[in-house]
């Protein structure tokens, strides 16, 4: 069953088409990595799911109900963590959760129990300081707590880790991993290592379209291709090497900077043999010769080319 279904969604601001006929769905229980470069339309999409922006065309369904702009009944299923969550600085974390709970219409007892439980989960229990004194990471963790307060079916996190230091990032990812199974999570980011750590489904957004989506294993398997990185001591060596006929015949050659090149082939062993014999013939000693794993990063760079 799909928690979220988006069909033919488009959004333009004036002449600027930000989302172009986008369609994808998020299955229940998954942690969905919503990947895209800065400015690719991730936040715009999320705001449309929340009914904060009006789509130019297309439909969004959350838990089988259509999202309507303005009248956002579907938000009762959703918990939202904005990219830079802002709270009322003069409140304590507990008071803020109480306010959220009261607005959502939870009972007094539920608010109290859930708040205590969630503040414990995000490591903000026994903290009576006002939110104004919180660090970025603490605010982000409070953001998760308020988003999970009404036990949403879908948790939407907009770049939850981007502004944080490595420790803060790890804390957020650990918290997201603990809700796996209970809540479906959509998690937008451009940090691919975070996606690899916790996501089981991904969708790659590029130029307003989902250009690739599916489960992590499927995608990695499908795009499996062996590639090899060579770094030379100078660009002259590299150019000489690239002019060699056997190298020119390879499937894909991609120069990343002045002294490096990435070569690709379906037959890794033969390609490596050719590379090495070519180097001996040309009398070139590389600084680095490395077989690349099919990482998400490589995959991402490849599909957004």
């Amino acid at each position: 069953m799909n928690i979220l279904t988006i069909e033919n969604l488009s959004k333009s601001f004036g002449d600027n088409l930000v989302i172009d006929q986008m369609s994808f769905s998020v299955p229940k229980g998954s942690i969905f990595g919503f990947i895209g470069k800065n400015g690719s339309g991730k936040t715009t999409t999320m705001k449309m799911i929340l009914g904060l922006l009006k789509p130019s065309r297309g439909t969004i369904e959350v838990c089988g109900e259509r999202v309507k702009y303005g009248q956002t009944d579907t938000n009762r299923f959703i918990g939202y963590l904005p990219d830079v969550p802002e709270f009322y600085n003069y409140m304590t974390a507990y008071e803020y959760l109480k306010l959220c709970g009261e607005i959502t219409g939870l009972s007094k007892k539920t608010i109290k129990d859930r708040s205590i439980e969630l503040l414990g989960l995000v490591g903000l229990d026994h903290n009576n300081k006002r939110i104004g004194t919180f660090s970025r990471g603490m605010k982000q963790r409070l953001g998760i707590a308020q988003a999970l307060l009404h036990e949403p079916k879908l948790l939407i996190c907009d770049e939850p880790t981007s502004a944080l230091d490595p420790i803060g990032r790890k804390e957020i990812l650990d918290i997201l991993a603990t809700v796996r199974g209970k809540t479906t999570v959509i998690f937008s980011t451009h940090i691919l290592s975070d996606v690899e750590r916790i996501c089981d489904h991904i969708g790659i957004l590029h130029h307003g379209k989902i250009i690739l989506s599916g489960t992590m294993q499927e995608i990695k398997k499908y795009y499996h291709q062996d590639s090899c990185l060579i770094e030379f001591s100078n660009s002259h060596d590299r150019d000489r090497f690239l002019q060699a006929t056997t190298i020119e015949n390879l499937e894909s050659r991609e120069t990343t900077d002045d002294v490096s090149v990435i070569l690709k082939s379906q037959a890794l062993k033969r390609m490596m043999q050719e590379i090495m014999s070519e180097m001996i013939r040309l009398d070139i000693v590389p600084v680095k010769l490395e077989i690349l794993d099919p990482t998400l990063e490589n995959l991402f760079l490849e599909v957004v080319k």
């Binding site: 600085n89 003069y90 006002r130 104004g132 004194t133």
Partner: protein, 66 residues
């Protein structure tokens, strides 16, 4: 002096309000040393000596977010 005695019931409370306002402001200035503009050594005399206006300006414009 006698002629001012009849005004004491109004002057005393006015004086107390002024003191409360200044003291509250000065405590806040010292305990929250991040202001939207100005420095501590400017704000302290401002809230202490510029009547009602000093604390007003401090709390409404000068006070930083908690």
């Amino acid at each position: 002096m006698d002629q001012y005695i009849e005004y004491l019931p109004v002057i005393i409370p006015l004086f107390i309000i002024q003191i409360i306002l200044s003291i509250t402001a000065v405590i806040h200035v010292i305990r929250h040393p991040n202001y939207r503009f100005g420095k501590k050594r400017v704000w302290i005399p401002v809230v202490l000596f510029i009547g009602f206006i000093g604390p007003f300006i401090y709390f409404i414009f000068g006070r930083g977010d908690d």
